[in-house]
């Protein structure tokens, strides 16, 4: 159980990917106590595993204005224009801080950063630290957070799965309910502000055999609690996916910028400079070789399209004027913020591969500042609310989980089969000409209500974790298909969705 003194009034950050780390760090650096909850540690995050670099206007011929223009052009009307401008403005300083923190960025002979021109940029703008840029950054953030943990400002709980948000009658978020996976214990935690840095919902689009990237369960939780979604159907696809060992993996898109070309389903790297290739993606290519036995340096390799990032997600606000710090990254629910892949502020119609890392760091820092400002301005604290509110929230979750726990049996549908069925249903509906939401997911919802964990032991129970995720994700999946259907008929422009318990997702107005 979290041992928290009520006068500390901590904030809660959910997710230890790069955006979550940046949010927690900004809070700690401002002296605000943080409770960091995550299903798995930063080393296991999606963001730390990617091979992309980071964009910043560092080149002599570049400028934040030009970077903003490119971002807006790529966004094509989606994403938040002022967030993009602020990102472009803040990226050079962000890069400088990373460099001074010892991130091993590639540099040219003169010592200036080596930058590459990626799709979506009109000038060389993407910096890399070999193939592991994100990992180096994640590690450094973790090392900074460890200091705050040692100093007692950060309390970290890894292996906790978000189950629900606790809300006041006016829907303001005052805490979370989370389950410790190792013991099965369900905890309700008060918080004077919550930030979801829980990643996107790429997993919904990945029709692969086994465990996909995040399904977006936390986004689903927020949606069900009343948060608006923006364009949840938009997803970025990389052409560099390949199958191995039952999974679908992706090679870094940097290979295309370096000169690799894809034709007739084959990626050809053979004409490229080997040293440059190795520096850029040695680990990814050697993993490819270990799995397939093929040598990408000397022969073209088979590749397929693979979804790598969702471009939509939780709608968040941004503060153009710079006067209302608590606005940045606030969702449509008071007290609830979102950063990184979970939020929809920075990713437009197309994506430069170096934008997400910059957005996770920049957005996380802004969300952290906003969360601190929100907490500062609160007239009544979550810690003043009666315990009954939190006990009831915890008990609801506990009872729900209790009802789902059962032995492995052939009678009930397996949660893992259902997960795959969900992804297939979404994939099918997204590619069909006449998307029929009710049909596709209605049958699945029925099977889901019959499903049980397939494992009665509450300890480290993947069946329960998956089952809970599926229940949380179903409204989000419905919204994805509804958005897709709307887009098919109404064309390519931004949409917001809200959730009605009875009629499901519906098109909504932007919050005031």
């Amino acid at each position: 159980m979290a041992k928290v003194e009520s006068k500390r009034r901590p904030t809660v950050v959910v997710g230890e990917g790069i955006a979550g780390q940046a949010t927690a760090l900004a809070l700690c650096e401002a002296g605000v106590p943080v409770l960091l909850l995550a299903r798995s540690g930063s080393e296991q995050s999606e963001s730390a595993a990617r091979g992309d670099g980071i964009d910043a206007a560092l080149d002599r011929d570049d400028s934040p204005e030009r970077h903003t223009e490119d971002l807006l052009a790529s966004a094509a009307g989606f994403a938040n224009g002022s967030a993009l401008a602020a990102l472009a403005e803040g990226a050079p300083a962000l890069f400088e801080r990373l460099r001074r923190d010892g991130i091993p960025f590639e540099s040219s002979r003169s010592g200036s950063p080596h930058l590459e021109k990626m799709p979506g940029s009109t000038v060389a703008r993407t910096a890399h630290a070999g193939a592991l840029t994100a990992r180096h950054i994640s590690r450094r953030l973790a090392q900074r957070l460890l200091a705050f943990e040692g100093a007692g400002l950060l309390e970290r709980h890894v292996g906790w799965q978000l189950c629900d948000l606790v809300q006041r009658p006016d829907l303001a978020v005052v805490g979370v309910v989370a389950r410790e996976q190792s013991t099965g214990q369900v905890n309700a935690l008060r918080a004077d502000g919550v930030c979801l840095a829980t990643g996107g919902h790429t997993g919904l689009f990945a029709a692969e055999t086994f465990a996909p990237p995040s399904l977006g369960a936390a986004t689903g939780v927020a949606f069900r609690c009343g948060a608006r979604l923006a364009d949840p159907d938009r997803v970025h696809e990389s052409p560099l996916g390949y199958h191995a060992g039952g999974f679908l993996r992706a090679l870094p898109e940097r290979l295309l910028a370096l000169g690799g070309s894809v034709e007739a389903g084959l990626l050809d790297l053979t004409a490229l400079d080997r040293a440059a290739l190795r520096r850029a993606s040695a680990s990814a290519l050697s993993a490819h070789r270990a799995h397939t036995g093929l040598d990408a340096y000397s022969e073209p390799i088979a590749v397929v399209d693979v979804p790598t990032r969702t471009l939509g997600g939780l709608w968040v606000d941004f503060d153009e004027s710079g006067t209302d710090a608590a606005r940045c990254h606030r969702t449509s629910l008071p007290g609830l913020y979102a950063a990184g892949g979970a939020c929809a502020a920075y990713f437009g119609a197309r994506l430069s591969p170096g934008t997400p890392l910059a957005a996770a760091l920049f957005g996380g820092a802004r969300a952290g500042r906003a969360l601190g400002a929100y907490r500062e301005a609160l007239e009544s604290s979550a810690f003043d609310l009666p315990t009954e509110v939190f006990d009831a929230a915890r008990e609801r979750v506990r009872a729900r989980i209790e009802a789902l726990l059962s032995e492995s049996t052939e009678d009930h549908p397996s949660p893992f089969e259902l997960e795959q069925a969900l992804r297939q249903a979404v994939a099918q509906a997204m590619t069909s000409e006449e998307p029929n939401t009710d049909d596709a997911l209605g049958a699945l919802a029925d099977r889901l209500s019959e499903a049980r964990s397939g494992d009665a032991n509450a300890c480290a129970n993947a069946g329960i974790a998956t089952l809970m995720e599926l229940h949380q994700v179903l409204p989000l999946a419905r919204a994805v298909l509804a958005a897709h259907a709307t887009r098919v008929s109404a064309g390519s422009k931004p949409f917001l969705f809200a959730l009605d318990e009875e009629r499901g997702p519906f098109l909504a107005e932007a919050p005031a």
Partner: protein
């Protein structure tokens, strides 16, 4: 497609040693299938070779792409990442592939262990960063040191680490060396070195070098340990001489 037999060590919870047992499962393996693939397959259909339907085997896995360190376990007695071990290559001449959890971290269930002891050791070695950013010019040469995912392979393989030993282990030592390389001030470097001169620090290394053999990221762990040995010796000497 080949049939592969796996013999997996199971236990229902941390305080339930009486439930420790081995169960055997058979999977059909393609060429590119790994131990992680097999564990996912078994999760979906947890029926033993005796035809008994059991609870799914609990295991840790995250990126499934050889980079996050989540799936480290003992394979035929040796520490490995499940996602990098190909089934068809790992089959012993006789008998099944044997899977067991890491032996030096507290067991949670089946193949899942608890990693907080590693974090405590990182704190002890002062493998954290506080204060202003450094300012060192180029750090590309440090990239090889800056890759640890906390997979715990070195901790498992090292003969000196264990639940009853305070030894921080090879990974924590390497992090300390990296951060000293990046350190902005002599005070910071020295306080880290002093932490490593306390119980559980550098003197607990027995120079077996098994850490280097098992590191999936090829981090020059022993080189880091040698450098720290030299640095701590220098510091000890200069404090002896009153400098």
């Amino acid at each position: 497609m080949t049939r592969v037999l796996l013999r997996i060590c199971r236990q229902d919870g941390p305080d339930r040693p009486e439930t420790r047992r081995f169960e055997e499962f058979e999977v059909v393996a393609e060429r590119t299938d790994t131990v992680a693939t097999a564990l996912f397959t078994i999760q979906r259909n947890p029926v033993t070779t005796r035809g008994e339907r059991v609870s799914p085997v609990a295991f840790d896995s995250s990126c499934r792409s050889d980079g996050c360190g989540a799936c480290t376990l003992l394979l035929n007695g040796r520490v490995r990442s499940a996602c990098r071990a190909h089934l068809l290559r790992e089959r012993p001449k006789r008998g099944p592939i044997v899977l067991e959890p890491l032996s030096k971290l507290p067991l949670v269930r089946d193949l899942v262990v608890e990693r907080s002891p590693l974090r405590r050791r990182l704190l002890h070695a002062r493998a954290f960063v506080d204060g202003a950013p450094r300012g060192r010019e180029s750090t590309f040469d440090l990239a090889a040191l800056d890759r640890c995912t906390g997979c715990a392979a070195c901790f498992e393989a090292c003969p000196q680490t264990g639940p009853l030993s305070p030894f921080v282990g090879p990974a924590a030592l390497n992090e300390a060396r990296l951060l000293n390389q990046l350190a902005a001030s002599r005070d910071e470097r020295q306080s880290r070195l002093r932490a490593l001169m306390s119980p559980g620090g550098i003197q607990d290394c027995g120079k077996a070098r098994t850490c280097v053999e098992v590191c999936p990221e090829n981090i020059p762990l022993f080189e880091s340990i040698l450098e720290l040995s030299a640095d701590t010796a220098r510091l000890w000497l200069s404090s002896l001489l009153g400098r």
